[in-house]
């Protein structure tokens, strides 16, 4: 059973843990850039761009580790 996180919760986490990060939408994914790193496979959700789709939490686990913000992210949301 996939563990899902609302996209708006991910944005709130990034604003707290990755201040100044950049996000850009492409066809099916968000690219998040922070501190010289890019996470490119954050999905837009099952039906393309929507306001607050549920996103598989595994992407947040991967992104938080890649961007070097894991500890902060874990304080902000449940990543298990």
């Amino acid at each position: 059973m996939p563990h899902l996180t609302p996209l708006l919760e991910i944005w709130r986490m990034l604003e707290a843990c990755a201040p100044g990060h950049q996000r850009r939408a492409s066809r099916e994914y968000w690219t998040i850039k922070y501190d010289g790193k890019s996470y490119r496979s954050l999905p837009m959700g099952p039906h393309g761009r929507r306001v607050n789709p549920d996103i598989e939490t595994g992407h947040v686990r991967s992104m938080a580790r890649h961007l070097g913000i894991l500890e902060c992210a874990q304080r902000t949301m449940d990543l298990t």
Partner: protein, 159 residues
Amino acid sequence: MANQTPARLPLLFSYRDTLFGNGFLVEVQIQNGRALGVQEADGFWMYGINPGGMAASGTDLDTAHAAFRKTFSDMLVGLAIECDSFETFQAAVDVFARETNAGFEPDWESAVAAVRRDKIAVAGLAQAPAASPLSVTVSLKTQPRAEDNVPVSDALLAA
């Protein structure tokens, strides 16, 4: 030799894609990309180490790898759309593929150590040296062949 899927698998992968960019046809080959396969509570995840900026999931290793493979191709298409020349695409792919997920890299290394220590084997997954060097080749395709329509995909257990 243990022959069961452990909770963490250090993986090497080699892919080849042929795709269109803005004004060019290009072949991308990555050899010995690295990913960490993890059985999580919410499915089997493949976290990219190189490239570090991507991940995908499935119900098991096979479906997670299929999703990871598709996501990799999607990332290349995204880069092709962003780049206005072969040279910028070539550079962007190189940066993308070599960017390391430093947060997961220690887990990948410890998973390699576990494979060696416990002599872990996974059915259908051949082994390769964990130190196999990453190679990224982006080249203009001047003589496309019908076989280029079929992406090349291979995964190995790092040991």
